[in-house]
Symmetry: C2
Subunit: 169 residues, 2 copies
């Protein structure tokens, strides 16, 4: 899948089929994060792969909208230093997008979960005090395979003309 096509067609997938993610596919998704550029090449990131169903169900309680984690084929917890600098958060966003796009090319959908209960996330993930998890990503093949080819929803995004300024605000 060419790069623009992946960027333009990727959509959020919250429900996943039983089709497994192979070790090779998972390695590529993680490698997509690893390959991403970071501020001063700091690479201040780490990733916790969660596949155990009970563990995934527990993690689904870390946020108000994190329920999809319970049904993920694989979840990846994105771990930064604690506290995280703006650059570390921004870098992690870049790495997350690389993962989302690499997965989509493999017909694997994803959706982020925002952590609301940081203490619970830290406990479930066994994080030391100097690490935090603000986001996890659920991955899996879509339960509804038509998601892979669905056209963009009209009105799903603000028009470019409303987002872009020339030279000055």
């Amino acid at each position: 899948m060419d790069t623009w096509n992946a960027i333009n067609t990727v959509r959020v997938v919250r429900r996943f089929s039983d089709e497994p993610i192979t070790e090779e596919q998972l390695a590529r998704i993680l490698d997509a994060a690893r390959r991403t550029g970071s501020s001063k090449n700091e690479q201040a990131w780490a990733f916790i792969v969660v596949r155990d169903r009970d563990h995934l169900r527990e993690l689904a309680a870390v946020g108000t909208y994190a329920g999809h984690l319970a049904g993920a084929t694989v979840a990846v917890a994105l771990v930064t230093p604690n506290p995280a600098t703006t650059s570390q958060t921004w870098d992690m966003g870049r790495a997350a997008q690389s993962m989302v796009l690499a997965a989509w090319e493999l017909e694997i959908g994803s959706v982020p979960a925002t952590v609301y209960d940081h203490a619970l996330a830290a406990r479930l993930l066994g994080l030391p005090d100097d690490r935090r998890c603000d986001y996890l990503l659920s991955f899996g093949h879509p339960a509804d395979a038509s998601k892979l080819t669905a056209p963009n929803r009209r009105g799903g995004r603000v028009a470019l003309a409303d987002l872009v300024h020339e030279e000055r605000w």
Copy 2:
């Protein structure tokens, strides 16, 4: 260029040739940001396109490592609400990576600039008080075209085994 190839081969480009970026190419790069998923589909982002050479030279003073902006074919200032939440910063990182990858497929290189002097950036970009710019991206065709096909530098990234944990930290 397939998606994985873009993710795996993209590299930072700091020096740019005189080859122009067409309006169509620029529109695609900006649209890559626009198409990116955001927390609660908030799309709390805006983009200022800077092409005027004098303006680019002024912007090169916003950060210690922002000198590349002076020679950018086009720079895009990434604008968030002020203050920016963690999610808004993370979302912008995702949008930036979409732009970087979309550009790379078009043989356009890029490099981020981190803003150190926020007051100067706000003045040069004409930002209202409720907006801030933490990053800009320089874009252009590489001055050294071999950058487009250069192999990955050995040792440029931490090994996957050192970044990835299973189930718990």
